[in-house]
Symmetry: C2
Subunit: 189 residues, 2 copies
Amino acid sequence: MKKSLGGRPLLFPTPVLVIGTYDADGKPNVAAVSWGGICSSDPPCVAISLRRVTHTYANIVAQKAFTVNLPSHDQVKVADYFGLISGKSVDKLAKAKMTPVKSTLVAAPYVKEFPLVLECRLRHTVEIGLHVQFIGEILDVKADEAVLNPNGLPDIKKVNPLIFDPATHSYFNVGMFVADAFSVGESLR
Amino acid sequence: MKKSLGGRPLLFPTPVLVIGTYDADGKPNVAAVSWGGICSSDPPCVAISLRRVTHTYANIVAQKAFTVNLPSHDQVKVADYFGLISGKSVDKLAKAKMTPVKSTLVAAPYVKEFPLVLECRLRHTVEIGLHVQFIGEILDVKADEAVLNPNGLPDIKKVNPLIFDPATHSYFNVGMFVADAFSVGESLR
Protein backbone atom coordinates (compact mmCIF):
# COMPACT_ATOMS: atom_id res chain seq x y z
CA MET A 1 0.00 0.00 0.00
CA LYS A 2 1.55 3.27 -1.12
CA LYS A 3 1.24 6.47 0.86
CA SER A 4 -0.30 9.50 -0.89
CA LEU A 5 1.87 12.63 -0.66
CA GLY A 6 -0.29 14.98 -2.75
CA GLY A 7 0.53 16.68 -6.04
CA ARG A 8 4.03 18.11 -5.88
CA PRO A 9 7.02 18.64 -8.21
CA LEU A 10 9.09 15.64 -7.16
CA LEU A 11 11.36 13.43 -9.28
CA PHE A 12 14.74 11.76 -8.82
CA PRO A 13 17.20 12.73 -10.16
CA THR A 14 16.80 16.32 -11.33
CA PRO A 15 19.85 18.06 -12.83
CA VAL A 16 21.69 21.23 -11.80
CA LEU A 17 21.82 23.41 -14.91
CA VAL A 18 23.37 26.86 -15.11
CA ILE A 19 21.64 28.86 -17.83
CA GLY A 20 23.75 31.48 -19.61
CA THR A 21 22.05 34.46 -21.33
CA TYR A 22 22.64 38.03 -22.49
CA ASP A 23 20.31 40.86 -21.59
CA ALA A 24 19.18 43.44 -24.16
CA ASP A 25 22.42 45.41 -23.55
CA GLY A 26 24.62 42.35 -24.06
CA LYS A 27 25.44 41.92 -20.37
CA PRO A 28 25.95 38.24 -19.50
CA ASN A 29 23.90 36.55 -16.79
CA VAL A 30 23.73 33.08 -15.27
CA ALA A 31 21.03 31.32 -13.27
CA ALA A 32 20.81 27.81 -11.82
CA VAL A 33 17.71 25.72 -12.57
CA SER A 34 16.71 22.12 -11.89
CA TRP A 35 13.46 21.91 -13.84
CA GLY A 36 14.73 20.67 -17.18
CA GLY A 37 16.00 17.81 -19.28
CA ILE A 38 16.52 16.47 -22.77
CA CYS A 39 13.20 16.44 -24.69
CA SER A 40 14.09 15.38 -28.25
CA SER A 41 16.78 13.38 -30.04
CA ASP A 42 16.28 14.77 -33.56
CA PRO A 43 16.61 17.70 -33.59
CA PRO A 44 18.51 17.42 -30.31
CA CYS A 45 16.63 19.62 -27.84
CA VAL A 46 16.72 20.47 -24.17
CA ALA A 47 13.88 21.94 -22.12
CA ILE A 48 14.33 24.32 -19.18
CA SER A 49 11.66 26.06 -17.11
CA LEU A 50 11.84 29.59 -15.71
CA ARG A 51 9.51 31.83 -13.75
CA ARG A 52 8.44 34.98 -15.61
CA VAL A 53 9.86 37.28 -12.92
CA THR A 54 13.43 36.11 -13.52
CA HIS A 55 16.12 38.01 -15.40
CA THR A 56 16.89 34.87 -17.41
CA TYR A 57 13.27 34.62 -18.59
CA ALA A 58 13.41 38.17 -20.00
CA ASN A 59 16.81 37.50 -21.58
CA ILE A 60 15.66 34.35 -23.39
CA VAL A 61 12.55 36.12 -24.67
CA ALA A 62 14.77 38.95 -25.98
CA GLN A 63 17.65 36.91 -27.43
CA LYS A 64 15.91 33.64 -28.37
CA ALA A 65 19.01 31.77 -27.22
CA PHE A 66 20.63 30.31 -24.09
CA THR A 67 23.39 27.99 -22.98
CA VAL A 68 23.07 25.09 -20.55
CA ASN A 69 26.21 24.69 -18.44
CA LEU A 70 26.91 21.70 -16.21
CA PRO A 71 28.86 22.54 -13.07
CA SER A 72 31.04 19.88 -11.53
CA HIS A 73 30.73 18.54 -7.98
CA ASP A 74 33.54 20.82 -6.72
CA GLN A 75 31.77 23.91 -8.17
CA VAL A 76 28.70 23.42 -5.97
CA LYS A 77 29.19 26.69 -4.07
CA VAL A 78 29.16 28.72 -7.29
CA ALA A 79 26.26 26.75 -8.78
CA ASP A 80 24.18 27.27 -5.64
CA TYR A 81 25.04 30.98 -5.55
CA PHE A 82 23.83 31.29 -9.17
CA GLY A 83 20.42 30.05 -7.97
CA LEU A 84 20.21 32.19 -4.85
CA ILE A 85 19.88 35.69 -6.24
CA SER A 86 18.71 37.56 -9.32
CA GLY A 87 21.13 38.93 -11.89
CA LYS A 88 19.00 42.04 -12.33
CA SER A 89 21.16 44.10 -9.96
CA VAL A 90 24.27 41.97 -9.42
CA ASP A 91 26.96 40.66 -11.79
CA LYS A 92 26.94 37.10 -10.47
CA LEU A 93 29.73 35.96 -12.81
CA ALA A 94 32.12 38.68 -11.62
CA LYS A 95 31.23 38.06 -8.00
CA ALA A 96 31.98 34.33 -8.40
CA LYS A 97 35.12 35.02 -10.48
CA MET A 98 33.74 32.99 -13.39
CA THR A 99 34.35 33.81 -17.06
CA PRO A 100 31.61 34.30 -19.67
CA VAL A 101 32.61 33.24 -23.20
CA LYS A 102 30.59 34.52 -26.16
CA SER A 103 29.14 31.65 -28.19
CA THR A 104 29.91 31.85 -31.91
CA LEU A 105 26.66 30.01 -32.66
CA VAL A 106 23.97 31.72 -30.58
CA ALA A 107 23.44 35.04 -28.78
CA ALA A 108 24.34 33.68 -25.36
CA PRO A 109 27.47 33.23 -23.23
CA TYR A 110 28.73 29.99 -21.75
CA VAL A 111 30.86 29.65 -18.64
CA LYS A 112 34.50 28.82 -19.31
CA GLU A 113 35.11 27.07 -15.98
CA PHE A 114 32.22 24.58 -16.27
CA PRO A 115 33.28 21.31 -17.94
CA LEU A 116 30.29 20.76 -20.26
CA VAL A 117 28.08 23.26 -22.09
CA LEU A 118 25.22 23.12 -24.60
CA GLU A 119 24.61 26.05 -26.98
CA CYS A 120 20.91 26.36 -27.71
CA ARG A 121 18.63 28.28 -30.07
CA LEU A 122 15.09 28.79 -28.78
CA ARG A 123 12.54 26.73 -30.72
CA HIS A 124 9.41 26.52 -28.55
CA THR A 125 7.94 28.41 -25.61
CA VAL A 126 5.30 26.62 -23.53
CA GLU A 127 3.22 28.59 -21.01
CA ILE A 128 2.51 26.11 -18.21
CA GLY A 129 1.74 28.04 -15.03
CA LEU A 130 4.19 29.57 -12.58
CA HIS A 131 6.91 28.36 -14.94
CA VAL A 132 7.36 28.89 -18.67
CA GLN A 133 9.18 26.13 -20.50
CA PHE A 134 11.77 27.04 -23.12
CA ILE A 135 12.78 24.33 -25.57
CA GLY A 136 16.12 24.96 -27.23
CA GLU A 137 17.76 23.12 -30.09
CA ILE A 138 21.24 22.00 -29.05
CA LEU A 139 23.42 23.37 -31.87
CA ASP A 140 26.66 22.24 -30.23
CA VAL A 141 27.95 20.46 -27.15
CA LYS A 142 31.33 21.70 -25.93
CA ALA A 143 33.45 19.92 -23.35
CA ASP A 144 36.80 20.32 -21.64
CA GLU A 145 39.28 17.80 -23.08
CA ALA A 146 39.97 16.60 -19.53
CA VAL A 147 36.44 15.18 -19.16
CA LEU A 148 36.34 13.19 -22.40
CA ASN A 149 36.46 9.38 -22.51
CA PRO A 150 38.58 7.45 -25.06
CA ASN A 151 35.66 7.64 -27.54
CA GLY A 152 35.72 11.42 -27.40
CA LEU A 153 32.46 11.74 -25.44
CA PRO A 154 32.01 13.26 -21.98
CA ASP A 155 32.65 10.81 -19.13
CA ILE A 156 29.90 11.22 -16.52
CA LYS A 157 32.33 10.47 -13.67
CA LYS A 158 34.88 12.99 -14.93
CA VAL A 159 32.26 15.70 -15.43
CA ASN A 160 31.04 14.69 -11.95
CA PRO A 161 27.78 16.63 -12.30
CA LEU A 162 25.51 17.66 -9.46
CA ILE A 163 22.07 16.19 -8.77
CA PHE A 164 19.36 18.27 -7.10
CA ASP A 165 17.10 16.51 -4.61
CA PRO A 166 13.79 18.42 -4.61
CA ALA A 167 12.54 16.56 -1.51
CA THR A 168 15.24 17.83 0.86
CA HIS A 169 16.66 20.73 -1.20
CA SER A 170 20.14 19.29 -1.30
CA TYR A 171 22.79 18.30 -3.80
CA PHE A 172 24.17 14.82 -4.44
CA ASN A 173 26.72 13.53 -6.90
CA VAL A 174 26.61 10.59 -9.32
CA GLY A 175 27.48 7.23 -7.77
CA MET A 176 28.56 3.92 -9.23
CA PHE A 177 28.09 2.27 -12.61
CA VAL A 178 25.11 -0.11 -12.30
CA ALA A 179 24.67 -1.79 -15.70
CA ASP A 180 24.76 -1.36 -19.47
CA ALA A 181 21.54 0.02 -20.93
CA PHE A 182 19.62 -1.75 -23.74
CA SER A 183 21.45 -4.87 -22.58
CA VAL A 184 20.94 -5.86 -18.91
CA GLY A 185 17.21 -6.43 -19.51
CA GLU A 186 17.74 -8.79 -22.49
CA SER A 187 17.42 -11.85 -20.26
CA LEU A 188 13.73 -11.02 -19.65
CA ARG A 189 12.90 -10.93 -23.35
CA MET B 1 39.69 25.69 -24.96
CA LYS B 2 36.65 23.48 -25.15
CA LYS B 3 36.26 20.74 -27.74
CA SER B 4 33.21 20.89 -30.04
CA LEU B 5 31.24 17.63 -30.10
CA GLY B 6 28.39 18.71 -32.41
CA GLY B 7 24.69 19.00 -31.67
CA ARG B 8 23.55 15.93 -29.75
CA PRO B 9 21.08 15.06 -26.97
CA LEU B 10 23.49 14.96 -24.04
CA LEU B 11 22.94 16.00 -20.43
CA PHE B 12 23.95 14.63 -17.02
CA PRO B 13 22.04 13.29 -15.20
CA THR B 14 18.97 12.09 -17.09
CA PRO B 15 16.39 10.02 -15.18
CA VAL B 16 15.05 6.52 -15.77
CA LEU B 17 11.27 6.85 -15.86
CA VAL B 18 8.83 4.02 -16.45
CA ILE B 19 5.66 5.39 -18.04
CA GLY B 20 2.43 3.54 -17.26
CA THR B 21 -0.54 3.79 -19.65
CA TYR B 22 -3.70 1.98 -20.74
CA ASP B 23 -4.48 1.30 -24.37
CA ALA B 24 -7.95 1.86 -25.85
CA ASP B 25 -9.03 -1.57 -24.56
CA GLY B 26 -7.78 -0.88 -21.04
CA LYS B 27 -4.73 -3.12 -21.33
CA PRO B 28 -1.84 -1.77 -19.20
CA ASN B 29 1.54 -1.01 -20.74
CA VAL B 30 4.86 0.28 -19.47
CA ALA B 31 7.81 1.87 -21.25
CA ALA B 32 11.12 3.26 -19.98
CA VAL B 33 12.15 6.77 -21.05
CA SER B 34 15.00 9.10 -20.11
CA TRP B 35 13.94 12.25 -21.94
CA GLY B 36 11.95 14.03 -19.24
CA GLY B 37 11.91 16.01 -16.04
CA ILE B 38 9.94 18.36 -13.81
CA CYS B 39 8.84 21.42 -15.80
CA SER B 40 6.58 23.42 -13.44
CA SER B 41 6.11 23.89 -9.69
CA ASP B 42 2.56 25.31 -9.74
CA PRO B 43 0.71 23.42 -11.06
CA PRO B 44 3.25 20.65 -10.44
CA CYS B 45 4.04 19.20 -13.86
CA VAL B 46 6.37 16.66 -15.40
CA ALA B 47 7.41 16.45 -19.05
CA ILE B 48 8.19 13.22 -20.89
CA SER B 49 9.05 12.72 -24.56
CA LEU B 50 7.97 9.81 -26.76
CA ARG B 51 8.38 8.88 -30.39
CA ARG B 52 5.12 8.72 -32.35
CA VAL B 53 5.66 5.07 -33.30
CA THR B 54 5.50 3.89 -29.69
CA HIS B 55 2.57 2.16 -28.03
CA THR B 56 2.84 4.60 -25.11
CA TYR B 57 2.46 7.58 -27.44
CA ALA B 58 -0.83 6.21 -28.81
CA ASN B 59 -2.03 5.37 -25.30
CA ILE B 60 -1.39 8.88 -23.93
CA VAL B 61 -3.13 10.44 -26.93
CA ALA B 62 -6.14 8.15 -26.31
CA GLN B 63 -6.34 8.33 -22.51
CA LYS B 64 -4.87 11.79 -21.83
CA ALA B 65 -3.16 10.37 -18.75
CA PHE B 66 -0.01 8.53 -17.66
CA THR B 67 1.97 7.59 -14.59
CA VAL B 68 5.68 8.16 -14.04
CA ASN B 69 7.23 5.33 -12.03
CA LEU B 70 10.74 5.43 -10.57
CA PRO B 71 12.47 2.06 -10.45
CA SER B 72 15.05 1.43 -7.78
CA HIS B 73 18.68 0.48 -8.41
CA ASP B 74 17.96 -3.24 -7.83
CA GLN B 75 15.15 -3.16 -10.43
CA VAL B 76 17.51 -2.18 -13.25
CA LYS B 77 16.95 -5.38 -15.23
CA VAL B 78 13.18 -4.82 -15.34
CA ALA B 79 13.54 -1.10 -16.09
CA ASP B 80 15.91 -1.82 -18.97
CA TYR B 81 13.61 -4.53 -20.33
CA PHE B 82 10.73 -2.02 -20.32
CA GLY B 83 12.79 0.14 -22.68
CA LEU B 84 13.97 -2.66 -24.97
CA ILE B 85 10.76 -3.72 -26.69
CA SER B 86 7.33 -2.43 -27.67
CA GLY B 87 4.23 -3.31 -25.70
CA LYS B 88 2.22 -3.58 -28.91
CA SER B 89 2.57 -7.36 -29.07
CA VAL B 90 3.96 -8.33 -25.65
CA ASP B 91 2.60 -7.94 -22.12
CA LYS B 92 5.80 -6.57 -20.61
CA LEU B 93 4.36 -6.36 -17.09
CA ALA B 94 3.36 -10.04 -17.05
CA LYS B 95 6.68 -11.08 -18.55
CA ALA B 96 8.57 -9.18 -15.81
CA LYS B 97 6.16 -10.37 -13.10
CA MET B 98 5.27 -6.79 -12.16
CA THR B 99 1.82 -5.67 -11.00
CA PRO B 100 -0.20 -2.87 -12.60
CA VAL B 101 -2.43 -0.97 -10.15
CA LYS B 102 -5.31 1.12 -11.50
CA SER B 103 -4.99 4.75 -10.45
CA THR B 104 -8.11 6.17 -8.80
CA LEU B 105 -7.19 9.64 -10.12
CA VAL B 106 -6.31 9.16 -13.79
CA ALA B 107 -6.89 6.61 -16.57
CA ALA B 108 -3.47 5.00 -16.17
CA PRO B 109 -1.88 2.20 -14.17
CA TYR B 110 1.12 2.52 -11.89
CA VAL B 111 3.53 -0.27 -11.00
CA LYS B 112 3.10 -1.66 -7.49
CA GLU B 113 6.70 -2.82 -7.10
CA PHE B 114 8.34 0.54 -7.93
CA PRO B 115 8.90 2.69 -4.82
CA LEU B 116 7.77 6.08 -6.14
CA VAL B 117 5.05 6.99 -8.66
CA LEU B 118 3.48 10.17 -10.03
CA GLU B 119 -0.10 10.12 -11.35
CA CYS B 120 -0.47 12.60 -14.20
CA ARG B 121 -3.23 14.15 -16.28
CA LEU B 122 -2.15 15.34 -19.73
CA ARG B 123 -2.12 19.14 -20.00
CA HIS B 124 0.07 20.00 -23.02
CA THR B 125 1.36 18.23 -26.11
CA VAL B 126 4.37 19.75 -27.88
CA GLU B 127 5.38 18.51 -31.33
CA ILE B 128 9.16 18.88 -31.41
CA GLY B 129 10.55 16.54 -34.05
CA LEU B 130 11.26 12.81 -33.70
CA HIS B 131 9.85 13.12 -30.19
CA VAL B 132 6.57 14.55 -28.98
CA GLN B 133 6.62 16.02 -25.50
CA PHE B 134 3.73 15.34 -23.14
CA ILE B 135 3.36 17.60 -20.12
CA GLY B 136 1.30 16.09 -17.34
CA GLU B 137 0.01 17.69 -14.17
CA ILE B 138 1.12 15.64 -11.17
CA LEU B 139 -2.16 15.04 -9.32
CA ASP B 140 -0.55 12.84 -6.69
CA VAL B 141 2.80 11.40 -5.68
CA LYS B 142 2.62 7.97 -4.08
CA ALA B 143 5.50 6.31 -2.26
CA ASP B 144 6.22 3.11 -0.38
CA GLU B 145 6.37 3.82 3.36
CA ALA B 146 9.81 2.19 3.44
CA VAL B 147 11.37 4.97 1.31
CA LEU B 148 10.05 7.94 3.34
CA ASN B 149 12.29 10.12 5.50
CA PRO B 150 11.25 11.30 9.00
CA ASN B 151 9.52 14.32 7.40
CA GLY B 152 7.29 12.03 5.35
CA LEU B 153 8.99 12.77 2.03
CA PRO B 154 10.82 10.30 -0.22
CA ASP B 155 14.48 9.80 0.72
CA ILE B 156 16.58 9.83 -2.47
CA LYS B 157 18.99 7.25 -1.06
CA LYS B 158 16.18 4.91 -0.01
CA VAL B 159 14.42 5.21 -3.37
CA ASN B 160 17.89 4.66 -4.86
CA PRO B 161 16.80 5.73 -8.36
CA LEU B 162 18.65 4.99 -11.57
CA ILE B 163 20.47 7.57 -13.67
CA PHE B 164 20.82 7.12 -17.44
CA ASP B 165 24.08 8.19 -19.04
CA PRO B 166 23.29 9.11 -22.67
CA ALA B 167 26.99 9.27 -23.61
CA THR B 168 27.76 5.61 -22.90
CA HIS B 169 24.22 4.18 -22.71
CA SER B 170 24.65 2.93 -19.19
CA TYR B 171 23.00 3.23 -15.79
CA PHE B 172 24.47 4.75 -12.65
CA ASN B 173 23.05 5.27 -9.18
CA VAL B 174 22.97 8.34 -6.94
CA GLY B 175 26.14 8.93 -4.95
CA MET B 176 26.91 10.97 -1.85
CA PHE B 177 25.31 14.03 -0.29
CA VAL B 178 27.34 17.06 -1.42
CA ALA B 179 25.76 20.15 0.18
CA ASP B 180 22.52 21.86 1.19
CA ALA B 181 20.89 23.84 -1.63
CA PHE B 182 19.99 27.53 -1.29
CA SER B 183 22.61 27.60 1.46
CA VAL B 184 26.13 26.51 0.46
CA GLY B 185 26.43 29.46 -1.97
CA GLU B 186 25.48 32.11 0.64
CA SER B 187 29.16 32.86 1.35
CA LEU B 188 29.51 34.31 -2.18
CA ARG B 189 26.66 36.77 -1.72
